[in-house]
Structure formats: C-alpha cells, structure tokens
Symmetry: C2
Subunit: 501 residues, 2 copies
C-alpha cells in the first residue's frame, strides 16, 4: 500500500510558490463557507510514520486556514480522568461541531497500532479494535460528518536520514527523542501493522490517503489539495441536494413505522401484569430496608471500579421522577448526578446524537441517573418522524455498541421501562390538571403523545427486543401502583450492584 | 432479545383460515412481479432453535409460492469438495440470481454459532466471523440483494415440550434425533451465543426478525407477512426510483475519477524502468531453467495444501497471453485452468460482481490463471463509468476481503501488472494490424482505451496502492521487452511457491 509513497516525490520551489497562494485562498474560502453554513463537522486524522512531517502539516493548516475555526487535538496517552471512562470517551468529547475543523494529530488509531507493534495485544484484539473503529466512523458519516484520513509515510531509509539530518543541526537536534530511535528499530513491524490497519479501515466514505512525507513542499501541496477537494465536493453536493431534503422523514403512515408486521395482539407490554401492588405499610418497611441496602452497596470498596448508569424510560406520568428520588434518597449527593433529557440544545444538535450522552458517562465510583435517555431516538424521534427509518434502525446497533463499550469498561448499566395502563395514565393526567403544584407537569404534548399510544407501544416493544442484552438488560416495571414500581426499581438496582461487586 | 418471542403467541384456526388465502395470493403476486422484472435477488435466511419449525416454514413457503423460482439450500456441514475452498465458497455458489428467492435453511451463521456453543472456537474468533458476515451481507446489499433474516425461537420449556410431543406419537417420533436431545442440554449456551450473533449482525438494511415458533399458525402468518412486506416495499421503492437512475454513473469529468488529487507527475508506473531487457540466448536458457524449477515445485508434496491463483493484468498488448503460455508450458494440463475474463454473461450480470470469480476459485493442488480479473471493477469499469464512484471505491475493500479469504485458506495469490510504454503499445498495435493471424487481437476498443491512457494510469496506481497487501502483493513487470517480462513472471511464481511450500 505504501509503494506510491516511496517514489521520492518532490516539488521545486518555483512551482510551489506559484501554486501555494491559490490553494491557500481556496482552502480559506471553503472553510468560511463551511463555517457560515454550519455545514458539517470536518474531522481530519493525521497519522503516519514519525518524522514524516505530521506536526509541520498540522501547523501549516493552522497557518493557512483560520485557526479560530480549527480545533487541534494532540491525543497522547489517556489522562487519569480519561482512564476512568471507556477508551472512546475522550474522542467523543473532542468531536468538532458542524462547520468546524477538528484535527486529530494522533487519533483512535494510535493506541491500537502502538500496542500491537510492541506486542502488548494479540492480532484478534487488534482486529477487533479496527472493527470498532470502522463502526464508529460509519456512525460519524451517517450522522453527517466529513472524515479525511491522512497517513504521512516515509521509507525506512528516508526515516533514518531524516532523524540524522535533524540531529546534525543543533537547532533541530532536540526534535529527535530517544523514543524516536527506539521506534526506528520497530519500523518493519510498524509498517506491516499500519498496512493492516489502513487496509481494514479504508472505506468508500472515508478512505485513507497516503502521502509521502519526505519533501515538505510536495507534502504540503498534497495535503492542502486533499483537504480542499474533500470539503469542496461535500459543500457542492450539499448545495445540489440540501441536507434538509435528505433528512426529511418520508410521510410515514403507520406502515412505514413497522420493523416486522404483527399478526396478533400479544406483545411484551400487554403481557405485563399491571395489577401488581403493595400495601402502604409493607411499602414503607421495604423501602427503608432497600435504601439501607443500596447505601451500603454504594459504599462498597469494590465500587471504585465501576460507574453506574441508571436509565429511566416509561410512559408519561408513569412515575419516573418518584422512583428516581427513592434511589437518590439512599445515595451520597456527591456520588450521583441526575441528567434530565429534554430536546437537544443548539450545541448538542451540532453533534452526532449520542454525543450528548457520552458527555455524561459516569466516572468510576459514580452514579449517572438518566431521566429519559438515548432511547429517545427509537421512541419519540421514531414515532414523531424526527428521525428517518434508516436512522432509527441503525440506532439500535449504535446504542448496543455504546452500551457494550460502557459495560466493557466496567460500567453497570441498568435500564427501566415504567409501564402504566392507558386508563391509569388518564387518571393521573386529570389529577395533575386539578392539583396546582402538579399542573406544570402536564402539557399539551402529553395529550398529543397519548393519542399515539399504539405507535409508542410498537416502538417500545421493538426497543426492548433489539436492545435488551446480557450486559445491559431491560427491566420492565408494572407501574400502575407507584409503591410497587419504586420497590421493584430499587431492588433491581441493588441486585445488579450486588452481582457486580 | 427473545422476550417477545416467549409470550405464547397463538392464532386460532378461524382467524388463520380468514387471513391465509389473501396473504398467499399477495406473496405469489410479489414473487411473480420480482421474477418478471428480474428485479433483485431475494435471500431468505431461516435460522433458530431446533424444533421451532424451520423445516415446516421452508416447506410452507415452497407450497405457497411458485417453487420453480425458489432455490432451497439446506446447508449442513461442508462436503469434501467444499472443504477444498474457502468457507464462504459454497454460499457464493448458491446465491440466487435477480428475481429468484434463495432460502438458506442453515446459513453462514450456523457453523460459527455451533462451533462456539461446543467451545471449539474462542470468543474473539467468533466475533471475527460475525464481522466477516457483516461485511459479506453489506456487499450483497450494496450489490442490490434483498436480505431477510428470520430467527425462529422457542423457550427452553417450549423446546422440551415440543420434542416430547413429537416423540410420543409413533408417526413423528423419527423427527427427534439423539442430536436434538444433545443440543437441548446446551440450550442456555445456544441462546446466549445466538443473542450475541443476532445483536452484532442486525443492521438497518438487514435486521433480524425474531419469530416465536411454538404455534404453527402464528409462525406461518408472521413469516409470510415479513417476507411479503420486505419484497413489496422493495418493489415499490424500485418502481418509484428505478435502479437504472440510481446506478447511472454521474457525468464524470476527470475530476470525479480521482481518489486523491496529484500535485506532481511522479507515480509508481512512471517510476518503472521499462528499458529492462534480456538478450534472446540468455532468455532461452533462463526460460528452460525456470520452467524446470516450476514443474518441480508444482509436483511438491506440500502443494496439496495450496491452491494457486495467478492474476494477469496489464496494458492492452502488454503480452499477458505470452507470459501465461510460458507458465502453463511448465505445468501438467490436468492441474491448471485458464480463465479469460471478458464482459460478464447474462447469468453473471444477475449476481454480485465477485460471484463470477468465486466460481473459479482453485481447489487445493490446482492453478487458476486469470487473464484479466476482478480488478476490472477498479480499472475499466471505473474509467468507463460503468461503475459509480461509490461502487468502485468499496470494491477495494471487497477485493481485499476476497483475497484475504483466499490467503487464509492457503491459496497463494500472485498478481502481475504488465506495463508497456505508450510508444511500444502503438508499435505492437500497428504490427498486429499488419500481421494476418494477429489481426483478431486488435479491436476498435483497444484504440479507444489508448485515448484514455492517463485515466487508466491513475486507476492502476490507485489499484496498486489500495490492494497490494502482504498476503497478496502486486508485482509490476516492465514489459517493453517480452523476454524480460516472461522471465520475471515465471521467476516470481517460482519464488512465491517456494516460499509457501
């Protein structure tokens, strides 16, 4: 794969001086157009061989383009704080919003490749990390990002020569580290492993572009042209076919909302026994016992290895808030954080939809309690047509990947669906309208949602079927009786913690 | 994931009798429409728990629909002949052409799941096989196939009950085998491993549909409706937006043909030294020695483990045929097969584009010599606009996957690009036109291709950069001198065989 990048490409000074100004202007134009339109996030990965000019390339782009709209991330080894979250967390946090250019100098490829070169991981684990990367990048592309992947290459001889030249000049000798020479010895392994990585992750949407790094002028012109072509073509494509028309949900009759047609009335929600209840005295006793148990568990020394993510979904007025308060009542306020999920903010809308949840991934030893969650994508967004069928269909996979990453990192994921009957919901709506301090809790939207009861039922059943996994199973809670629901939620949390600790 | 398929779904006889006839007719209508339009291949996977009615379902579809347009494949363990090729070979061979329904009763999922249940493979290898499957299915979808994946499920208790019922009746007792009872004991492992497989491979384009298998009438109606919905929606979509308009290549100026813009004139083809030559006496001596060496290698006892695939690509009139004849001259005619690749046949056009090459994958101990090859996709199809940029871009990955599967199975893949200069080609064209017995070798198309020399050059360089891999590297052969080219090709084949044996 590196053949063409070992030919000794060179651009003479005169040619460079002739071509550079126009390229620079065109790049700047493209950048401003992307910024003004808040068009799409531009993600530029700069990887490659040490000494091939990665740093110079990044510096130059910052010089040529408007650095106010560029975020450069030199991602080294993860920090203490970063280590307390899943490995991809730090990359999610740094994704550029629409219109901005995010340069990742050292990307999600660096660690897997280095670990493999130094034989700290096996081939199978390496391949698995590449597959994860593929899925991550596909998600970014599906969410509208433009990804440009540059690999700056030097032949073995050219690398050696480059370091020797730098060392021989006292002004640049500092740029060559001991580590660089150590890596030179691993050149062949690095080349072979990089080749595998590049091959496996070069896709039609986000191909790797390999650039010979030896000659600075050649490298600069090539990188500039690659980036310009990618941004320009995407801007032109979007202008010809506005994102709005692509994103518009097709006029969805009930038909289009169905993954699999149904032939009877039985489903997992209807098979729930909603008559389950607990008498008040028993409830009060159990509540106290369970809260004591949860408090003890939350102070368990093994808890330091685990974050806990509690997800509360359910019908409107099913009592999510009440159940959450019975749980937080047992916890030290410094250890938990409640995240109420409403419509996304402007900042959040400029990012892939899972971004706003990655922001709140709990550190080890902490609880993150989601009052509604990422499942909005396959519930309200699906039913209301805010997301296209393609988008919510792929969301099942993306959500499973997300939760699998949390679980693999030790996070305990507990998911609740609180179910009430249509009649009980109506009773609670009316009660809320009558009771002054509860009136803010009932809106027109609640009444509108109620009319789509059947559609939501289908969406909830599909959600449970497609995202209830061994690592992150759903717990369905009959919630017509609030006491019963609260006790069941508390007990489930305790059981899951106990099992994990 | 199986929650909804353990609820005890049931359809009573009256309902079934009312609904079945209309469903049957609609299915037949959809089938005939697909057949008449030669619309798209329909691939139906039927997997699931033993005893959940997989066989009955397949029989019923053959009864309800026109069996002349259905190919049912009960894929058990691979046969002797199949074992001599890569594992996916047997599935490629059985893919249905456009308009036909191919039912895979036991699919590419069966072996990985069973091997994992019986702990013959590790988790990492299992996951890798799922990823391969994902890529395979994505390729099929990109190539236009409709994939419907059914999983028939039974709870543990229901499975046991089903087998007991069958056994208690002398008429059906034969249907329960010892193996079935053996598998029952592994139910929990099977369920957990299947869940993982289904979750990882459920995509927006080809989601798994899980169907409770206990009640025959419920199962039948559901399967029928799922299949009908999938075919119908796709037919309607294609009618609204004809495949022709989707497949049409955008009016490609030279710009659109470029993966990465170039800033100088140097490339891997131009850096070849085409002046290399060998004098005739030396050529004759070396030819004999190399042919003797190749003959010996071809009779090496270790050769029984390896198939050999030789790929010859090159400029028109570069001497591919001559080089091939010097190789076959050293081989036993029973051991090789030359596959000249021209435009695809009608049968081949009804299949994914790699299908016609999978047909010719060599058995162990045999040579398959491709005179032109699957690389047509990224050469002529790219340059002439027969394939859209999306299609030839993804072809690099698909080709790498294909060759990696060959290599993993022990096949030695040797790829040649025979390069001549523009002047030398002109000389040969003119010579051919003058020489009577060579005149058939030169066509108008050759002259047309010549005009696109620059486009082909770009395509060849991209091809080499993106598909030259450790397992299957490209060898670039300077072919202005035929003697030099033939000797180099022969020697390369010998070296590769020697290294592998």
């Amino acid at each position: 794969m590196f053949e063409s990048a070992e030919l000794g490409h060179k651009i003479d000074k005169a040619t460079f001086s002739r071509k550079a100004p126009a390229l620079r202007e065109a790049l700047l134009d493209a950048q401003y157009e992307a910024v003004e339109k808040k068009a799409f996030p531009i993600i530029l990965l700069v990887g490659g061989v040490d000494g091939a000019g990665k740093g110079e390339t990044v510096n130059l782009l910052n010089e040529w383009m408007d650095p106010r709209h560029i975020q450069t991330h030199a991602m080294g080894m993860p920090s203490e704080e970063q280590r307390e979250r899943p490995p991809m967390w730090r990359f999610w946090r740094e994704l550029p919003p629409k219109g901005k250019l995010g340069i990742f100098f050292g990307s999600w490829y660096t660690e897997p490749i280095v670990a493999r070169v130094y034989a700290r991981t096996k081939r199978a684990a390496f391949d698995e990390s590449l597959e994860q990367t593929l899925r991550f990048e596909r998600m970014l592309v599906d969410e509208g990002a433009l990804i440009v992947k540059l690999w700056l290459h030097l032949s073995k001889a050219a690398q050696k020569k480059r370091f020797e030249t730098l060392e021989s000049d006292p002004n640049t000798a500092w740029r060559v580290t001991k580590n660089d020479w150590k890596n030179v010895k691993r050149y062949d392994a690095f080349r072979s492993i990089s080749e595998r990585a590049l091959r496996q992750t070069s896709t039609a949407e986000a191909p790797w572009i390999i650039v010979e790094g030896a000659d600075a002028r050649y490298r600069t012109l090539t990188v500039g042209n690659v980036l310009l072509k990618a941004i320009r073509e995407r801007l032109d494509r979007d202008a010809a076919e506005p994102a709005a028309s692509r994103a518009a949900a097709p006029k969805a009759g009930r038909e289009a909302l169905v993954v699999s047609p149904r032939v009877d009335k039985l489903d997992i929600l209807r098979s729930l026994d909603l008559t389950k209840k607990i008498a008040k005295p028993k409830y009060e006793k159990e509540l106290l016992a369970l809260q004591a148990r949860l408090n003890q568990l939350s102070r368990h020394p093994g808890g330091g290895k685990h974050g806990v993510a509690l997800v509360f979904e359910g019908n409107d007025a099913a009592g999510k808030g009440g159940a959450i308060r019975r749980i937080t009542g047992a916890l030290d306020a410094r250890t938990y954080h409640i995240i109420p999920i409403a419509a996304p903010t402007e900042e959040e809308r400029a990012q892939p939809y899972l971004w706003r949840f990655w922001r709140h991934v709990p550190r080890r030893g902490r609880f993150a309690i989601f009052d509604r969650s990422w499942y909005g994508r396959v519930l309200v967004e699906r039913v209301e047509g805010f997301a296209r069928p393609d988008d919510w269909m792929r969301a099942y996979t993306e959500i499973n990947d997300f939760e699998a990453q949390l679980a693999a990192d030790g996070t305990i994921v507990v998911k609740f669906w609180l179910a009430v009957s249509q009649e009980e919901q109506l009773r609670r709506f009316k009660e809320r309208e009558k009771t002054g301090f509860k009136r803010f809790k009932i809106t027109d939207e609640d009444w509108r949602n109620r009319k789509k009861w059947g559609d939501y039922e289908v969406a909830v059943c599909d959600m449970i079927d497609r995202t209830s996994t061994e690592e992150a199973p759903w717990t369905l809670v009959p919630a017509n009786d609030k006491y019963y629901a609260r006790v069941m939620a508390l007990r489930t949390v305790c059981d899951r913690l106990e099992k994990a600790l």
